[in-house]
Each structure stands twice: as C-alpha cells, then as structure tokens.
C-alpha cells in the first residue's frame, strides 16, 4: 500500500495545488471584502486595545477596557479628536506574552492602528513595548506594575500609567513600620514579578529599619499553603508582606482564613487590584495594601466620573470604577488629549505633547505628572485596608483609605532611574 500512495501523491500535485489555493483563498477571502468595507467608512483614529479577557488577569483586563471605552465614547460625543472619530480595536491578549505579541502584530499590520494601549501583566507589557518601539507606535501600559518597563526596558514610545513595584514597596514601608510593626516575614511569588517585588521590599526594609524574620517562596501552581502558614505561625512576625498575585493569592487567602492565620499577623499585600478583591469578598480579602484610587474617593470630578461610569456599565461584572478602570480611563483620555494638543497623530509630536504634562483632573488630591526621563506617570498612593463587612455601604464599598503619600515621595527619584531611552530622532516616524 505504501507504493500505491506514493504514486497517488505524485499525481495529485498540480490538482492539489489548485484545490489548496482555492480552499485557502476561500477561507481568507471571507475576511477580505468585509475588511475593505470597514476601511472605506472614513478615516477614524484607530486605537488598539490589548486587554485580557481570559487567563489570570481576565477580570482586571475587562475592567481596564471598560475605562478605556468610556473615555473613547466621551471623546466621540464631543466631536472626536481632530474632528475624527475614535475607534477601538480590541484583542484578547489572554494574559500571555506570546499571544499578545502575535495579536499586537496583527493589530498593527492588518488593522493599521494608530496607537496602542493596555496590558496588566508585566510579561505582556514588556514585549509589547519592544514591538511598539520597533514600529514607532505610541503604547500606553495602562495597568502593569513592572519596574523594568520604566528602567532597563524603557522606550521612547512607551508610557506607564500604573504605580510600580518600587512605588508600592516604598509607600508602604514607612507606614507599615510605624503603624504595624518592624518584624516582617516575606512571601514571594516565585516568578519574575514576585521576585522583583520582594527585591523592592528588601531595599525598603533597610530604609525603615525593619527586620526580616524569614522568607518563603510560593511556586507557581501552589495550592497548598499549609507549609507557609505553619512557618509564619511559628515565626511570629508582626507583619507578613505577601508579594503573591493571581490565583495563588486567592488560594493563599482562602487557606489563611481557614486556618485562622489571618489573625496571626498584620498581612500586607503591596499589590491589590480591586477586581481580585471582589472575587474574595470582604472576609477573605483581609489585610492592608496600597492603591492608587477607588470610587469612594472624594475629590473634584470624582463623583461625576463615577456616575457616568455607573450609567454606562450598569450590567458589568463590576459596575463601579476601580483603580484598574480608572487607570484605563485616564490613560485613554490623556492619549486623546495629547493628540489634540499636538494637532496631529504623528508620533514624534504626540510624544512631545505628553512628556512633562501635568494632569490635574485625575479625580484625586494630588495631580499626576508624565515624567519625561522615564515616562512613568508619577502619582499619589494611598495606604488602605479592607473594610469590615458591617462598615460597607454596598457590595463594592470594600476599601477604607488610611493614609496618603504625595507623588514626590511616592515616585522613584530620577537619580535611581536606570532608563536609557532612545532619542526621539532614533524612533521611527509613525502616523501624521
């Protein structure tokens, strides 16, 4: 039979090619005319949204997107930007670096987006900002807190809108040492982000004279925290710094609560996104953390923003804005405003309109600044803790703000910056 198949295969070559080409063409052709129709409806400004809808950061990714969409809709309601309509093009980056790169490539090449925004996971943010720089596309990391993208991996086209590990560690350190204790135990999520966060914690401990009673690694995929919880119980620290994220954090909290370990010490989770707290509920979302904003903050413009958001997203899983969606909203809004200020979509001009810009209407006490040397948005931070259930006015009212840290103190000084950005002249021109 082997022989027969050989002749069969030879004889079919040309015919196969035709069938193959036809099938291929048919499959891809489905996309063709449809796409052309879209392109002909005028020249809107296309923004690529790289947000997760699946994977670990799915909830936050969607919150991020909700903020962005609201900003786009508001801009369009006022007549668009530079008289042009703004259109989002969203791709699910699946909390995965490789998928993100592939889809971003598609957004750039196929959809021909003008700007790009998104990313929660540092693993996604870094390669996307590399990609953006290669093409010259301006990219806003709306919600990733990696330190590397504003230091070693910084790029001229990249702007970072969330606070990073250094900021969280340094904002928390003094407050924790003063109010909760100086004997710390560290839990480190055993991957790049977690290790960076712990490095920042350790650096800060020196400054506030805190003692490290011990450290335990939490490998990815850990579902059993009895080891860590037992060790903590016997070490008797005053504070536990838990640099653990994602589903491991959820499981850790579950079991800490189950074991009664949440009462063993003051638990500090330097990084806490609100969508994750919702999953846990007030009892299991115990502990202290640092946040950039929550919808209960009373500041100019805040109430109006919250009302607009609630109206727009009434049926969403989280119908109130939180730190994640607020970052998404502000980032998107400022991108559009910068385009307006520059008077063009040409990247070099928009970058110049962004660097050094001060954002006053950011719904909080202190204005934020887009720092020109590392493109990090310097903003204030607030130490917070989870409210007791009895104190909550509604399901989303989980956060109690404790102390504020102004941006000059919260953000890393220029002297510490390891960022060596490409010069504007070396950045490929895009848009305009």
């Amino acid at each position: 039979m082997a022989h027969k198949s050989t002749t069969m295969r030879n004889g079919l070559t040309r015919r196969q090619l035709l069938t193959g080409a036809a099938a291929f063409g048919a499959a891809v052709g489905l996309i063709g005319p449809w796409r052309r129709a879209r392109a002909q409806s005028g020249k809107p400004i296309l923004i690529g949204l790289t947000c997760d809808a699946s994977g670990t950061f799915a909830d936050s990714g969607q919150a991020d997107r909700r903020g962005m969409i609201l900003a786009i809709e508001e801009a369009n309601a006022k007549g668009g930007v530079l008289g042009r309509k703004v259109e989002p093009r969203w791709e699910d980056t699946e909390t995965d670096a490789s998928v993100a790169v592939r889809k971003a490539q598609r957004l750039i090449e196929r959809d021909r987006i003008d700007f790009m925004i998104g990313a929660l996971s540092s693993g996604v943010a870094a390669p996307l900002s590399d990609l953006a720089q290669r093409h010259g596309i301006i990219y806003f990391n709306s919600n990733s807190s990696a330190d590397t993208v504003t230091n070693e991996k910084c790029h001229r086209t990249n702007f970072v809108w969330d606070a990073n590990n250094w900021m969280f560690a340094n904002a928390l350190g003094p407050l924790v040492a003063k109010n909760l204790g100086t004997k710390w135990f560290i839990l480190t999520h055993d991957y790049v982000w977690g290790k960076n966060a712990t490095a920042a914690t350790r650096e800060n401990m020196k400054k506030v004279s805190a003692d490290e009673l011990g450290e335990l690694m939490v490998p990815q995929g850990t579902r059993d925290f009895s080891a860590q919880l037992l060790r903590i119980r016997s070490a008797k620290p005053q504070v536990v710094i838990a640099n653990v994220a994602g589903i491991e954090q959820t499981a850790l909290r579950e079991q800490a609560y189950e074991f009664g370990a949440d009462k063993d010490a003051a638990w500090v989770f330097p990084q806490q996104d609100f969508p994750d707290m919702v999953t846990l509920g007030p009892k299991k979302a115990f502990g202290y953390f640092c946040t950039t904003w929550h919808y209960t903050v009373d500041a100019p413009g805040s109430k109006e923003f919250v009302a607009n958001f609630r109206k727009r997203w009434a049926g969403a899983p989280i119908p109130v804005p939180d730190n994640v969606s607020c970052n998404g909203y502000l980032a998107m809004r400022e991108m559009l405003r910068a385009i307006e200020r520059a008077g063009t979509t040409r990247n070099h001009d928009v970058i110049k309109a962004l660097e050094g810009h001060v954002i006053k209407d950011n719904f909080r006490k202190y204005p934020s600044t887009i720092r020109p040397w590392d493109h990090l948005v310097g903003q204030m931070l607030t130490l917070a803790k989870t409210k007791r259930e009895t104190d909550m006015k509604e399901k989303w009212d989980m956060i109690e703000m404790i102390a504020e840290i102004p941006p000059e103190v919260a953000a890393p000084p220029q002297s510490l910056s390891k960022c060596k950005m490409e010069a504007i002249a070396d950045t490929p021109v895009y848009g305009g």
Binding site: L17, G20, A23, I31, D96, V101, R102, Y191, V192
Partner: protein, 332 residues
C-alpha cells in the same frame, strides 16, 4: 511542488487583497515547516505524538539564549536551536520509541508538559512568564545583494521562504527514500516490519528525532519572527494545534496536507477571533466536527471524491488490523 513554491513566492503581493498581511504568511510558512516535519511522525509512521509543541517552543529558547549570552549572530543560534531540540528529541525518543498507540501518546504528552514546566522553573535563563525578549534579526550577507536587513517583515518573509523550500524538498526526499518506505511499513504493521528484520525501535526513534529537528528549525524561526522566545507554544493546547493542522489538511492522505492545514487553521483563527470574543468555542466545535465528519482532512476528501477506488482510509485499515489482532488473540 513547484506550484506551491510559486504561490508562496508571490504571496506577499496577494495577501492584502484577501485581507491578509505579510506576517500571517510568514507564520504560515513557519508552522508549515513544523507541521510537515511532524507529519513524518503522525501521517507517515502512524505515531500520534501529542506534546510536540514543547520542541517547537524550546528551540526558541535555545536560539535566544545563544544569541543573547553565548554566540550572538544569526546562523549559529539558529543551528544551536535545531541541534538542541533534536538532542532533546533523541532523549525523549529513548523512552517513547519502544511504544506505540495510546501509550506512546500518553508518554509524549507527559514529556511535553515536563519541558513546559522546566521553562518556568529555569526562569533565570528563560525569563519565565515574561519570555526571553530582546532578540535581534541581524542583517545577513547575501551573495550579489550585499547585506540584507531582516528587521522588516518582507525581507524576513523571504528569509523564512528559503528555509520553507529547503525543508519541503528535504522532507519529500526523506519520505521517498528507503527510510521512508520502512516507516511506512511500520505504520501498517510494526510486528510484520520487525519480523522482516528491521529494528523498528531504532527507526521510530530516528523519525521522532527528525521531526524534532524540523520543529527546532521552525521554532527558531518563530522566535526570530517575534523577537523573543515564549513558553506559549509549548502548552498542551498549542501542541494540539499542530495535530489539528495536519488533520484538517489531510496529512494522512497527502504530503501537502499539512501545508494546507496550516493555512486554513491560521486563517480561521484570525477570522474567528475578529468575529466573536468566544472564538474558542467555535474552534473547539470545529475540532470536534472535523474529527467526526472529516477525519481524512480536506485533501483526503478531495482524493476520495476523485478516486474512490484508490483511497487509503486510515480508519478502515485500523479497524481491520484491530479485528485481525483480536481474532489472533482469542485463539488458545
């Protein structure tokens, strides 16, 4: 074959007309190299390996690590990618070459996932979840053209095209060589092949390693395409993709099946994800539908429609063999 090569030669010009883009074409060729090499194992030898994504992915890491910290450049890391992957393939072959059927699949799955986890464990080298980024595509010296920069999509497309042509020709030769005949015999009946005197384990191991070498080439090119090595292709789900690609196109029935399968698969994936957020549902249903209704793939269907008498139905052959073996065993 020339027809296929001609088509891909002019593809970048055609693609924008049908809603595609150059990068998609590059991806198609890269996966085609992977799938053709894999089909050597699946379609020609009848060994259903199910963890091959691991080899596709690890090649990227071998390339990235060599380029960043060892040799730099382009050709040497690419070579290291191929060799490193082939070596790992040979290692796994030591365990799996003795088996076949379900047990074979089970083992390949297990090893595939093992490599996937290794990537995360060794995160100082691999960058873990973040992947290993910052790869370069250095310019190459082409005789007659001087230095050609590969940074842009179009030159890189043709760079990959060279390898695509090379791999296709090479695999064609392998399949039509005495070696190819032996593995075909093993597919039909390993016991018979052994009875005739062939060391089937050795041949199976060799095919496995070869398929890993091609996966290594494809994986290396893929990491260059994305300027980084990532763990995603190594997951179980992605390993399943290459199997589906071979199947859709008709890898059991034709040498070119995998190429067609890759094209259809990637185009559909692009299409589905633009249509709906829940494209994975459509994708899973498509998988199931193909297995149920079109297991011989598109080209197999074409063959069957045109030459019903000659059609080689793997399914029927398997059932016949199974019945034959049962009959043998129920004898006292």
């Amino acid at each position: 074959m020339l027809g296929v090569f001609a088509l891909f030669l002019v593809l970048p010009a055609l693609l924008p007309w049908i809603g595609g883009y150059t990068y998609l074409g590059t991806e198609v060729m890269i996966w085609a190299i992977f799938a053709l090499g894999y089909n050597l194992l699946l379609g020609y030898t009848g060994l259903p390996a199910f963890g091959h994504g691991a080899f596709f992915g690890m090649a990227g890491y071998f390339l990235a690590v060599s380029q960043k910290w060892w040799t730099g450049g382009l050709w040497l890391p690419l070579l290291i990618g191929v060799l490193g992957t082939a070596l790992c393939g040979a290692f796994v072959a030591l365990f799996v070459a003795r088996r076949r059927g379900i047990y074979f699949s089970l083992l390949t799955i297990a090893f595939g996932v093992m490599f996937w986890f290794l990537v995360f464990v060794l995160d100082t080298w691999t960058g873990g979840e973040d992947g290993l980024t910052g790869l370069l595509r250095p310019a190459i010296a082409v005789p007659g053209l001087g230095a050609v920069a590969l940074r842009d999509n179009l030159p890189f497309y043709y760079f990959v095209y060279g390898f695509f042509v090379l791999s296709t020709v090479l695999l064609w030769r392998i399949v039509h060589s005495p070696f190819g005949q032996v593995i075909g015999a093993i597919k039909q009946s390993e016991t018979r092949a052994r009875a005739v005197g062939y060391d089937t384990t050795l041949y199976k191991g060799a095919v496995f390693t070869l398929s890993c070498a091609f996966a290594g080439l494809a994986g290396g090119l893929y990491s260059l395409a994305r300027f980084g090595a990532f763990a995603e292709p190594m997951s179980l789900q992605q390993s399943g993709n290459v199997v589906l690609m071979c199947l859709i196109g008709g890898g059991f029935a034709s040498f070119y099946g995998p190429i067609l399968g890759v094209a259809v698969f990637l185009a559909l994936r692009d299409f589905f994800s633009t249509v709906t957020d829940h494209w994975m549902l459509l994708y899973g249903l498509l998988f199931m539908a193909i297995i149920l209704f079109l297991p011989e793939g598109i080209l197999g269907l074409v063959q069957r429609v045109r030459r019903p008498a000659d059609f080689h139905d793997t399914g029927t052959a398997e059932a016949a063999r199974a019945a034959e073996t049962t009959a043998h065993r129920s004898k006292p």
